[in-house]
């Protein structure tokens, strides 16, 4: 059983018993005027206090106001009931007790609304009050034979009378009245002081009660004060006091529970208020203009901020209390308010709950709005277009993208069917099928399609995502750049494969032309190679779409005024459109003849030198995309690389072939020399010796001597030739005695006079000396064979860390370094040392062979 229930069970019946007893005593009184009415008033007064006290105690168990109200009620029943008795003693006791309720009432007033006394002054006043009300009659009664001046109406005699001493009676009355009035004044002053120092919220609670209590006390005071002046007045004020007192407990109760009355409005009003006004509304509802609303922030840690965003601590300080706002254990905020509001917990809780709902609602709303803002920003930042389309093909929404890559054209319209869009039907069917597949599988599907023009190929990618039971989103992105790069990579890969497989050059050129046309979307592409004269160029590769006109492969024509010429001159990509101002007459005519509307060309360079150009064309009315010529340029740089590789490979192969040929030739020469020279002679010697042996066996003669002499000669020749051969294979003089003696030896054996100048004083590295020796050796051999010269000058010198060898003859000239293996082999030898061989041989003006060989 709860405390409240026990209270009701204990107090209720007791009040009924005491009340009924009181009612009977008063109602049956012989000395009271209108006893029935008085019984009713007493019952109503006591009953109202007890009832209000029970309700207050039930609703505010922690508050003592209820107990005090009950105490007033009971003492009221007791004193009024006893005073209804016609017997002397009960009547006198009742009279003695009649002021007790006033003591409880004063206690109530001073302790209201908490039921607890706050200060020592209040406690002193309350204690003094109880003493006063308890003692006043005991001070008066012993000297007053008729304390209520009712002897003539038949009221009982004073049972406590000691002495009918008028002087004592007058003095006691005066003392009691003075003390009582002074006391009431002190109580009133205290209450006024409290009122003055109260917050608005506290005043709101105090106002009705203080009014009622004060007026009641005033009536008591008047009642007490008028007692000795006029019975009528006293009687009237007693009645008035009685009637007023019936209502007093309800005023206390109303004040105590007043917070509840506003409850019904709170949620509605708060919910309708904008966030910024919630604090104002809270102040209004709590009647506390100082109340502040703090918002809880959960991240990163729990902190509180006020309406201006300043951090605040939700802690109570003297005079200020805090009511936390929570929802399901989650802190949402706090209200910092006047301490007085602690006495209205229901009001605080109700306001806190309503504000909590509001804050939570706001939070969710903010979170949703923030999420929407983020999503919207995200969508706007994406370079994509987003379509929302039903399964049936109706366009529900189009989100246009912003930014440079949003170039995929929008052909669909919101509210219309995609099938009505001016897009090729097969593409629409394919995309819708992809969208339906996304809907049916629930998975992301993708599709790619091209949408550009010839010469300006573009691609788009659609990502299809289900967005409802019968609708899907299509996120469309321009993927042209990526596709172009893929195409270029694939094209270059194919070219590289062809180059690596050592396909014929012409085939590689044609392949390059086709791949470039594919990448650019061109109608024709040509690769042209400049002729050495710089005037003409020849088409070495080409590709064209069926029906397009093009200059055929192998065609050689003047470059005058052409795009190839502009490319060769500037070394940069060029672009020409039919109708361009400043178009050369030759190019204008060519474009008309071949129905070319747009043309781009870019240089092909080989080892930084112009090698040729690529030219791509489009027929009317098409035009190449912006920067197509640059893309062509990027492409041709890679072609150049492939060509350089190809040429390097060819040069390497040729160089190796020459080396092999030269080696073979050398071996053949050696073999021939051996066969023709030393071998023949040794054979002869061998035969001669065998013959001499045969003759000696027969009979020696002068013939034998002659034969032996010849054999000896042959042996001498053979040895000489072997020495020559050995010298040809490697000059022993060079190794043993250096470049000077070796060159002198060459000069001595030369067919024409040779003058050697500038022999270096010091030895050079072996390979440099050997290379220089062979340059001179080969040059002198050539002079002997072809030059018809009368003299040769060999000059040696140093230049920039290079050894320089120059052989100059005054012969017929016309030597061709590209012909004959001798100079080629020499060039290979010099170049293998990072050197450089230069042959200058104008017809009729002699030949100069100059070699520069790096040497330390």
């Amino acid at each position: 059983m709860s405390r409240q229930a026990r209270l009701w069970l204990l107090v209720g019946p007791a009040a009924v018993v005491v009340g009924v007893a009181s009612f009977v005593l008063i109602g049956t009184s012989d000395h009271l005027q209108a006893p029935g009415l008085q019984a009713l008033v007493a019952a109503l007064t006591g009953g109202s206090f007890v009832a209000a006290g029970l309700v207050a105690r039930t609703r505010r168990p922690e508050n003592r106001t209820g107990l005090l109200l009950i105490a007033v009620g009971f003492t009221w029943f007791a004193s009024a009931g006893l005073m209804g008795s016609d017997e002397s003693l009960p009547w006198t006791i009742g009279l003695a007790l009649s002021a007790i309720p006033a003591g409880f009432l004063i206690h109530l007033l001073l302790a209201y609304p908490s039921g607890r006394l706050q200060s020592t002054r209040e406690r002193v006043l309350v204690v003094f009050g109880y003493v006063l009300v308890a003692e006043a009659h005991f001070l008066l009664l012993p000297f007053d034979p008729d304390p209520l001046s009712c002897a003539d109406t038949g009221c009982p005699t004073n049972a406590f009378l000691v002495s009918d001493n008028e002087a004592w009676r007058t003095a006691a009355n005066a003392v009691v009245q003075v003390v009582a009035v002074a006391y009431l004044v002190a109580v009133a002053a205290t209450l006024v002081g409290r009122w003055k120092h109260s917050s608005p919220a506290a005043r709101r609670a105090l106002a009705p009660v203080l009014l009622a209590g004060a007026s009641t006390l005033l009536l008591f005071a008047v009642s007490v004060g008028t007692r000795s002046f006029a019975e009528t007045v006293s009687s009237v004020t007693d009645w008035a006091a009685s009637v007023v007192v019936i209502g007093v407990p309800f005023l206390f109760l109303t004040g105590l529970l007043k917070g509840r009355l506003a409850r019904a409005d709170i949620s509605r009003v708060v919910a309708e208020e904008p966030v910024g006004g919630v604090q104002e509304r809270i102040r209004e509802l709590l009647h506390d203009p100082t109340a502040e609303l703090l918002y809880a922030r959960l991240e990163p840690t729990l902190t509180y901020i006020d309406c201006d965003g300043r951090p605040r601590e939700p802690v109570a300080v003297p005079g200020r209390a805090v009511t936390l706002i929570e929802r399901k254990g989650r802190p949402l905020g706090a209200i910092v308010h006047d301490e007085a509001l602690c006495d209205e917990p229901e009001l605080r809780e109700q306001v806190a709950a309503a504000v909590g709902l509001e804050i939570e609602h706001d939070r969710n709303l903010y979170a949703l709005q923030a999420s929407e803002h983020r999503s919207r920003a995200l969508l706007e930042a994406l370079p994509d277009k987003i379509f929302r389309i039903t399964e049936g093909g109706i366009v529900l929404d189009i989100q246009e993208s912003v930014g440079p890559r949003s170039s995929v054209p929008t052909t669909a319209e919101v509210g219309k069917s995609v099938y009505d869009a001016p897009t090729p039907r097969p593409l629409i069917e394919r995309l819708m099928a992809t969208g339906r597949r996304a809907l049916h599988t629930g998975d992301l599907q993708t599709a790619e399609w091209d949408w550009g023009d010839e010469g300006d190929l573009r691609w788009a990618e659609g990502r299809f995502i289900p967005s409802g039971e019968d609708e899907f989103l299509v996120v469309v992105r321009d993927i042209s750049e990526r596709k172009r790069q893929e195409l270029e990579r694939a094209a270059l890969h194919r070219v590289a494969l062809a180059v690596a497989s050592e396909a014929p050059t012409e085939q590689i050129f044609n392949l390059v032309a086709e791949e470039m046309a594919r990448v650019l979307g061109a109608h024709t592409t040509n690769l042209v190679r400049y002729d050495p004269d710089g005037e003409t160029a020849v088409v070495v590769g080409g590709w064209r779409t069926p029906g397009a006109l093009a200059i055929p492969v192998g065609d050689r024509r003047s470059m005058q005024g052409t795009a190839s010429h502009a490319v060769a001159r500037t070394g940069r990509p060029v672009r020409r459109e039919r109708g361009d101002v400043g178009l050369s007459p030759e190019l204008g005519e060519l474009m008309r003849d071949l129905d070319i509307n747009s043309l781009v060309a870019a240089p092909i360079k080989l080892a930084s030198r112009p090698w040729g150009a690529v030219v791509a064309t489009l027929t009317s009315p098409h035009s190449f995309a912006r920067r197509a010529e640059e893309r062509l340029g990027a492409f041709t740089r890679l072609i150049s690389l492939a060509l350089a590789n190809e040429e390097a490979r060819a040069q390497l192969a040729a160089s190796r072939a020459r080396l092999v040929t030269a080696g073979d030739e050398e071996r053949r020469r050696l073999e021939r020399n051996l066969h023709d020279g030393a071998q023949q002679r040794l054979v002869s010697v061998s035969v001669s010796l065998r013959l001499a042996q045969a003759w000696l066996e027969k009979d020696g003669s002068s013939d034998v001597l002659e034969l032996l002499s010849e054999a000896n000669d042959e042996l001498g020749f053979a040895l000489e030739e072997l020495r020559e051969l050995a010298r040809g294979i490697h000059p022993a003089a060079l190794t043993e005695r250096g470049l000077g003696p070796a060159l002198a030896s060459l000069a001595n054996r030369a067919s024409v006079p040779v003058e050697v100048e500038g022999l270096p004083p010091e030895r050079l590295p072996d390979q440099v000396e050997a290379a220089a020796y062979y340059v001179v050796s080969e040059a002198l051999a050539n002079v002997a064979k072809h030059a018809d010269a009368s003299s040769v000058t060999v000059r040696l010198g140093r230049d920039n860390a290079h050894a320089v060898v120059e052989v100059v003859d005054d012969g017929v000239g016309g030597a061709n370094p590209g012909r004959g293996s001798g100079l080629h082999g020499l060039a290979d030898r010099i170049e293998s040392l990072d050197g450089y061989l230069h042959v200058e041989s104008p017809l009729g003006k002699g030949t100069t062979i100059r070699a520069e060989i790096p040497c330390g």
């Binding site: 066969h675 023709d676 071998q679 023949q680 061998s686 035969v687 001669s688 065998r690 013959l691 003759w695």
Partner: protein
């Protein structure tokens, strides 16, 4: 006494061969330094035997042999070279010559063995 025509582009060998043949009782009726003059000399001199070097400046010894054999009453042909017989393989056998003697091994006895 058998008559010889010596065909070789090296004068020293022709001289040595002549000394060898004549010392062994053969008659050297002429010498030739290349294929064309050899054929011509064979027509005019009508030697019994042609000592024929295989490597000649113009046409080689096999060709010379083939042309000599196509004429009526051809001479006996003995091929020679400073190379080994193995260098020429089947060509010697198919040439219609009596045989091959390397120059270093040339002697009267080897010649007689081939010509008998």
């Amino acid at each position: 006494m058998q008559s010889f025509l010596v065909v070789d582009d090296h004068p020293s060998f022709r001289k040595t061969a002549r000394v060898l043949l004549e010392s062994e009782g053969f008659q050297v009726v002429g010498e030739a330094a290349d294929g064309a003059s050899a054929i011509e000399a064979a027509k005019t001199l009508r030697p019994d035997v042609v000592l024929l070097d295989i490597i000649l400046p113009d046409i080689d010894g096999f060709e010379v042999a083939a042309r000599l054999i196509t004429n009526g009453n051809p001479p006996a042909i003995v091929l020679t070279s400073s190379h080994d017989a193995r260098d020429f393989g089947r060509l010697i056998h198919e040439s219609g010559a009596r045989g091959f003697i390397s120059k270093a091994e040339l002697s009267a006895s080897r010649l007689r063995a081939l010509l008998e």
